[in-house]
Point group: C2
Chain length 407, copies 2
């Protein structure tokens, strides 16, 4: 575990998206969902350097375009408003008008320039936002609220729990905090939900450097998780750095840039793993680490092939130490693999050595897979490339949630 190696990074107990100085958040019920909170806001006391990464899905939803537009102005944001239950995706021009209105109303409610506000939506696809309900949410905005739990609740869809964390590191001798909140990917009636993540830090970070860091961290974390392989129309990760701690602006030329980058990546990883472990119907978090690959890119593709395999996912659900399914997924990744040099481990149990089955106790394998966090390690012994991916098991409950939402 990274924290063990990097003792300079400490994880804050019950850390939240508001753990960093100058960040505020709240959430309310505005009527989009029956009872649960469905409208949230995130606010920084000063404009924050902003970076974002969006879904590569061709059907990008209107709110993504609006957030992108805001950030493009000064590479800053001071607030975000988010609704659940409706994704405002596949909604055409009306959807765009609604997303722009959502931004304007939030800006007015908080007394900000429109370009300092981002918007996100998650939930139903192809249905126009009920703007009367959104307006009701706007009237409840209190920028001074410190209720991260309400914010973290308000952005959920089929998630079973809120996802949040924060870490602390010293930069220029100052205790910098990086926090975040996220929601998972899963489907709700009648269409798809979304992966959303918001990261906040009171460090001063140059906007370009923040964007570069976020993109890189996303490739290694949020982009390395899968619940069902489907990437949605609304997936968004936003990072805000408000500089409240007054450190020397961070960029690659800062002597402690690597330390900051590592802490930032760790927050991304913690949130990503929380999303993977709370996949629809999931009972277990699966981590697949591939090492010894020709390149890290190749390792990433192989890890993704294994973690995305329905056969691996069902084997983990059934606690079946079925190494053949892992080997098979490695083999069909279409990456360069020398079959005769592949080792596979389930936790500490070696199940494949040089492409051939190892002697191992099946009962030990079953006991290992009966745990809630499963590690699969594939060593290709070809090079130095490595990568890790996270996912969850495939269960009856997944089929139930996604096949029979009507009942």
């Amino acid at each position: 575990m990274l924290v063990g190696q990097e003792t300079e990074i400490s994880i804050i107990h019950d850390g939240h998206v508001t753990s960093a100085e100058g960040f505020y958040a709240g959430g309310v019920h505005c009527g989009l969902r029956r009872k649960k909170l469905d409208f949230g806001w995130l606010f920084s006391s000063v404009p924050a350097a902003a970076a974002a990464v969006y879904t590569k899905n061709s059907f990008q939803a209107a709110p993504l375009k609006v957030t992108k537009d805001s950030i493009s102005k000064e590479h800053k944001l001071q607030a975000l408003v988010i609704n659940s239950a409706n994704a405002n995706a596949c909604t055409g021009e009306t959807g765009m008008v609604n997303a722009l209105n959502m931004r304007k109303q939030a800006a007015d409610a908080m007394g900000l320039g429109e370009h300092l506000v981002g918007v996100s939506s998650t939930g139903l696809i192809g249905v126009q936002l009920p703007m009367d309900k959104i307006e009701k949410g706007m009237m409840s905005i209190n920028p001074a609220a410190v209720d991260p739990e309400a914010f973290e609740q308000a952005i959920l869809t089929t998630d079973t729990k809120t996802k949040h964390t924060a870490v602390e590191i010293l930069i220029d001798g100052k205790p910098i905090i990086i926090g975040g909140a996220a929601k998972g990917s899963g489907m709700i009636h009648p269409n798809m939900a979304t992966m959303l993540a918001y990261m906040t830090t009171d460090a001063d970070v140059e906007a370009d450097a923040l964007q570069h860091l976020l993109s890189r961290a996303t490739d290694k974390t949020y982009n390395m998780i899968t619940v069902d392989g489907d990437s949605s129309t609304n997936d968004t990760v936003v990072a805000l750095a408000n500089g409240k701690k007054g450190n020397h602006p961070l960029s690659p030329s800062h002597p402690e840039w690597e330390k900051f980058s590592e802490a930032f990546r760790l927050v991304s990883e913690i949130l990503a793993k929380k999303i993977a472990g709370d996949g629809e119907g999931a009972t277990k978090l699966i981590e697949v680490m591939v090492k010894g690959a020709a390149t890290s890119d190749s390792a990433g593709k192989i890890a993704k092939a294994v973690i995305s395999s329905n056969l691996v996912k069902t084997a983990v659900y059934g606690a079946d130490p079925n190494w053949g399914r892992v080997v098979c997924a490695v083999g069909y990744s279409e990456e360069p693999v020398e079959p005769d040099s592949v080792d596979v481990f389930l936790g500490d149990i070696q199940v494949v050595e040089n492409g051939l089955p190892s002697e191992f106790s099946e009962q030990e394998g079953i006991s290992y897979l009966d745990q809630q966090e499963i590690s699969v390690v594939v060593d290709l012994k070809q090079g130095d490339g490595k990568a890790t991916a996270w996912g969850c098991d495939l269960t009856y409950e997944y089929v139930k949630i996604n096949a029979s939402y009507r009942t």
Copy 2:
């Protein structure tokens, strides 16, 4: 349906892998499975031009290498022997020795040169072939047997039914027959099974032309089906043309080459659809046709993205006319798509027009999806590229088969 357009091709009622002249087949129980047939052979009265396509999985099983070796000698085969229950994959040098022995024993049993014999195995991975049982199978070989049902049974693993067909066309005025048998992809205790298909024709076909035709047809048919996206270590398609009908040798320069190609492709398609519809736990066959794409290659990738989506598969299982999941899969295919010009149909029901939801009766949509064969059509309206892919729904039964084989 192709047959309607191409009235020159007629489908033979209850056609089999032995429908073409000079082909013989049989199967027995040699003890690899508890009771079911597990050892089969296919025989041609004369050496046949042979072509084959193999899995791209890096962990190619030993029998594939042996079959490849045989075909490389003269591009001919006269017989194939196949066992189920054991894939002879990830079995190292011993596995290779066993596969070579299997070929030698079959060649001896049928009085053929070794290079005229191919071998296939399907079933367990990582366990050595019990050669005593294989030898028992060899002793039962009767090259004169015409028992295609026994052959088609013997190659099955978790399939619920045999898969076979045959068609007839006139070439040079002679009634040419193309037949075939296949088994599906699915998992059995404790590892993966395999897609196997054998195609037989009494036409005279030049070996090069046959290989080219098989590769092309495979790309459009066997490679366009998915049960769970996992391609196995043993997937193999073999085509044999024994020339018994005495036509002028077929190649692209033959005036009726296109007609023959079309019939050959049709046999591939029929077998591929039978495999898709009999996927593990499947209750429905899903056909996804993408048209209006920039290129056919692009259409193929989009069709594969849609047919592989667990969310689309569960929606079909639940008879949920959830067009958003189709649109989402189109969007994340990473192919060039103009969202504003996408139409989607479920059967004849238009559910998306120009990227926006159409008005349609949800009840009609549900009724349509309650059928056993579901057609999803995506029209991108960008170009002339089109492609079709086939798959099946994702059900509780799939999870059950693959997660809890022990119970």
